[in-house]
């Protein structure tokens, strides 16, 4: 009798869920995201080293401030985006602080403006276009794919409820990390160059991430 009622089925479901309950680790969400990101970043780095190789003057350039400011821009954006992604991976977390992802851009922007101000206008175009802006933009987007897959793997056991936004932020995190990896190869150091093309890659990856997110992140 009870067997046939839908609430009876719910009763049995509860019994089966309660059986063999295992304790849940406290930091399961950050732990899983970390594993996904590190695995994705490692794959992205391996791809870069095998396919493109490091820039030959990497050791020399590692002592220049402009190189490290560019690196800081990618790390800052990645950190902010991952922070937001972690919030979006939990139900009921209002994405109130999504705007923080543009803070690194705003901090880097004056460096670019100063670069422009201290350069003759005739040299603005070469400074903006660098050694290959198209290549740079598309390589950052391409190298972000393994990182995005790592985040997708992490999100699969988590519970994002705003799929497009979570996908966009995952895309942004991926591109910021792949840009960091790409710094090893990228021949251009300038702030104007990075502000334009790294940021364009971030935007493209966010858009693609949002599109993919609405499909991939369902649970």
């Amino acid at each position: 009798m009870n067997n046939a009622s839908p609430t009876g089925a719910t009763e049995r479901l509860i019994e089966s869920l309660t059986r063999d309950l295992q304790p849940t680790p406290r930091h399961a969400v950050p732990a899983r995201l970390t594993v996904g990101v590190i695995a994705g970043a490692a794959a992205s780095l391996a791809l870069l080293l095998v396919v493109l190789g490091a820039r030959p003057d990497l050791a020399a350039v590692a002592s220049s401030a402009s190189f490290w400011m560019k690196v800081a821009y990618t790390i800052g954006t990645a950190s902010a985006a991952l922070f937001v992604a972690a919030r979006l991976s939990r139900p009921g977390g209002r994405p109130s602080a999504t705007w923080i992802v543009i803070v690194p851009f705003l901090l880097y922007l004056p460096v670019g403006l100063w670069e422009l101000a201290s350069t003759d206008t005739a040299d603005w175009a070469p400074m903006l276009l660098g050694h290959g802006w198209r290549e740079c933009t598309w390589l950052v987007v391409a190298l972000s794919v393994p990182v995005y897959l790592g985040l997708w793997w992490a999100f699969k056991r988590l519970a994002p409820t705003e799929l497009a936004l979570a996908g966009a932020v995952a895309g942004l995190s991926s591109a910021a990390i792949s840009a960091l990896v790409y710094c090893i190869h990228c021949p251009s150091n300038g702030a104007v160059f990075a502000l334009a093309w790294y940021t364009l890659a971030f935007g493209v990856a966010s858009g693609l991430g949002a599109l993919a997110g609405t499909k991939l992140l369902r649970w």
Binding site: A9, T10, R12, L17, L21, V29, R90, R157, T161
Partner: protein, 178 residues
């Protein structure tokens, strides 16, 4: 409301530490809350009960995403609202396409079948209508129309029952594998 939040959060915290008595009490407290939430929004009792079960399964399989520093009810209703939106999207798509068979042969179900799992025991977890619909179409090999007329329900009802039942089973099996 505030008292309830504290009560639920206490049970959840104990459950996360492995206390199955508290967990049992929690799920039994949640079921009527969720039933009310869904029933007000979808009207049909059967559909509401399906959503209650899906939400309980999600609470179980996603319990690691609960942050102990945040309110439990916000987390719970975040899941419930997601399942509700998912239901509306799915039933809309179902009405539009009217073709679910390709979705039914998902890889999750295949792997579940190849594992040695007592199918009947799993089917018993489902509401009878869903269990019967799956048994008829997927095990006995009847067509949807035959299964529907045997059960005395409409064909679209049978199709929906199979779809919902399989989705629930695959969620169940995945939850157990973890």
């Amino acid at each position: 409301m505030a008292a309830r939040e504290i009560e639920l959060k206490t049970m959840m915290t104990l459950a996360l530490d492995g206390d199955s008595t508290a967990y049992d009490a929690l799920l039994r407290t949640l079921a009527p809350l969720l039933r009310g939430f869904f029933h007000r929004r979808v009207g049909s009792e059967d559909v509401a009960e399906d959503l209650v079960q899906e939400t309980l399964i999600a609470v179980h399989s996603r319990r690691a995403t609960f942050d102990r520093a945040r309110p439990f009810t916000a987390w719970l209703y975040g899941i419930a609202r997601y399942k509700l939106a998912d239901h509306f999207r799915r039933s809309h798509r179902l009405a539009e396409v009217g073709e679910v068979d390709s979705e039914l042969e998902g890889p999750d179900l295949e792997s579940a079948n190849s594992a040695v799992i007592d199918v009947e025991r799993l089917l018993a977890l489902l509401p009878h209508k869903q269990g019967n619909a799956i048994r008829a179409t997927k095990i006995e090999g009847l067509s949807l129309a035959e299964a529907a007329s045997t059960a005395g329900i409409s064909e679209s009802d049978a199709k929906m029952s199979v779809y919902r039942g399989l989705k629930r089973l695959s969620a169940r099996v995945q939850g157990r594998v973890r």
